[in-house]
């Protein structure tokens, strides 16, 4: 393990219609997710950290080294920054094999051809890509290309890893597997990592802390669970306000880590995450009859109005928090006050399961 590396960034710049002003910190070994709607400036923020766009004000410091500080006239060009960048569509060099794509970085950093290739080979093997070493990017599957891009970014052993929507280009069937791989690899990465995503599942499963970027400014930041539990805008609520539980798959349901059972078809086996969107949660005065397979008893802790919807925080069995989203009318109907008793139901088919 090298010395602890941390990123300290204060980015101010204007690009077209975008006025970006955002502060960002990431400790060594930590993954920070930057989430926000399209056009919020997420990618521009990453490009500023990489030195692909210059700051107008502020500064970027990585592991004590100032990379960009316009006031002090300090500017380290991209190629001299210790960064790894995974682009949204990967940008694998089409004329080079997977091996030479990964060897490209070490070659540029002074490793000789033979050394760079053997280094690249070991990275590809580590990512389970031994059989596509000689393939050109055009003949790789989406998941393989994503892993080659990650291996290429990591092969220079950067102190800062930048991931721009790393899973967005994948179809739903491969995304879960690739995400689980990415999670595993990020766990062993000892530098700082900034992840840009618009997918709440990616953000919550991959990052410890979230930074919400809207219209070029940070509107909320904090631990993922905190932000998810107390979203400050409808957009955040929509994006990250999902219920996320960890547990073990048991075929037709999930045994939660702290005890409890969630019915879900094809829950699989092994460590999984259960994701329930607040809008899929129904609240009742009495125990509901009929089809919903998950019925719990709980207590309404807080009610919050977010635009035309109301967000209700419920504590199940006095220990498991759950967010529900209902209409303001329903709040009145149910006479939900703090501490009120409610019944909660969720259809089994509304529970989405992702491998951990």
């Amino acid at each position: 393990m090298g010395p602890a590396v941390s990123l300290l960034a204060e980015v101010r710049l204007a690009l077209g219609a975008l006025d970006l002003e955002a502060a960002l910190e990431a400790e060594a070994g930590e993954v920070v997710a930057v989430v926000g709607p399209n056009g919020a400036g997420k990618t521009t923020l990453l490009r500023a950290l990489a030195g692909l766009v210059a700051l107008a004000g502020g500064r970027v410091v990585l592991g004590g080294r100032v990379l960009d500080d316009p006031e002090a006239s300090i500017w380290v060009p991209t190629e001299q920054r210790s960064i790894g960048y995974v682009f949204q569509d990967y940008l694998l060099f089409p004329h080079l094999s997977a091996l030479d794509n990964v060897a490209f970085g070490p070659r540029c950093r002074g490793v000789d051809r033979v050394g760079a290739r053997s280094l690249a080979r070991s990275w590809l093997e580590r990512f389970g890509l031994a059989e596509v070493v000689g393939h050109r990017p055009a003949s790789l599957s989406g998941g393989q290309a994503q892993r080659v891009a990650l291996a290429r970014a990591l092969a220079t052993e950067p102190r800062l890893l930048l991931l721009d929507e790393p899973l967005a280009a994948l179809d739903a069937s491969t995304r879960d597997g690739v995400r689980a791989d990415l999670r595993r690899h990020l766990a062993t990465f000892d530098g700082a990592c900034v992840l840009v995503t618009h997918d709440p599942v990616d953000a919550l499963l991959l990052a410890k802390r979230l930074v919400v970027l809207e219209g070029g400014s940070v509107t909320q930041r904090g631990l993922a669970a905190e932000v998810a539990a107390a979203p400050r805008s409808p957009w955040v609520a929509e994006l990250v306000g999902v219920n996320l539980w960890r547990g073990r798959g048991r075929g037709d349901g999930i045994e939660l880590a702290g005890g409890g059972w969630v019915a879900a078809p094809s829950a699989g086996t092994g460590e999984v995450f259960a994701v329930i969107h607040p809008r899929s949660v129904a609240l009742h005065r009495r125990r509901p009859e009929g089809t919903p397979r998950n019925v719990w008893r709980g207590r309404a802790e807080a009610v919050e109005l977010l635009g035309d919807r109301a967000r209700v925080r419920v504590l199940l069995d006095d220990r498991v928090p759950l967010a529900a989203e209902v209409t303001p009318a329903a709040v009145a109907d149910l006479a939900l006050g703090a501490g009120g008793e409610v019944w909660v139901s969720v259809k089994a088919t509304e529970v989405r399961v992702h491998p951990a």
Partner: protein, 269 residues
Amino acid sequence: MTAPRLARRRAPRPPLVLVVLAGTGVVFVTLPLVALVQRAPWRQLGSLLVRPGVVDALWLSMVTAGAATGVSLVLGVPLAWVLARVEFSGRRVVRALVTLPMVLPPVVAGVALLFAFGRRGLVGQWLDTPLGILLPFSTTGVVVAQTFVAMPFLVVTVEAGLRGADRRYEDAAATLGASRWTTFRRLTVPMLAPAIAAGALLCWARALGEFGATITFAGNLQGRTRTLPLAVFAALEGDREAAIALSLVLVVISLVVLLALRDRWWAPR
């Protein structure tokens, strides 16, 4: 009103006026070639093409057009890169100047080259007496004339390729630690290979057909400066059969080049 619209779509007959004009255009362009073929001395063609003067001209043309293409690649690809990638004031003027030889009458190009590199030229006077380098009336002079006229075709093609290319690949290379020079060498040039090949082929074909600038600047001497087009010109005065045979060679080469280029030149990436 759905039915008539459908019917119209099913029979997309091009307007007669356009077809007639287009056909006239095709006939206008091909007729001289047909006439050339019709006058060709097919029976003596073999013996005409192995005459010393013809062989000399063919060989000289291949060598000089090849060399001109080489020089154009070395100077033209970086030039295209600068025009496409570096922002500087006066870039439009530089681009216009660099592509000027494409539309300049080649004779004017030849005269301008004489004023620059001739014995009493701007630069030529310094090359001649102190250095003993003389470009006019030399094979090198032929290469100079061909490069001057043909390089813009390469520059224009490669620059179009660069503008169509995704610049973010260059960003990706920078994040991996590649300097701009490394990026140019290991990424830009290989990824641009199709455009460079197309540009080089076009440049070579133009150099091969070069006449006006060559005869004005480099003179006309068998084996030294008399390329294929100059040999056609010289043969017209005495040996018309040989002139036609040489012309056929040029037509065939040019046609092959254009067929090889058809996709890339008309639909650059």
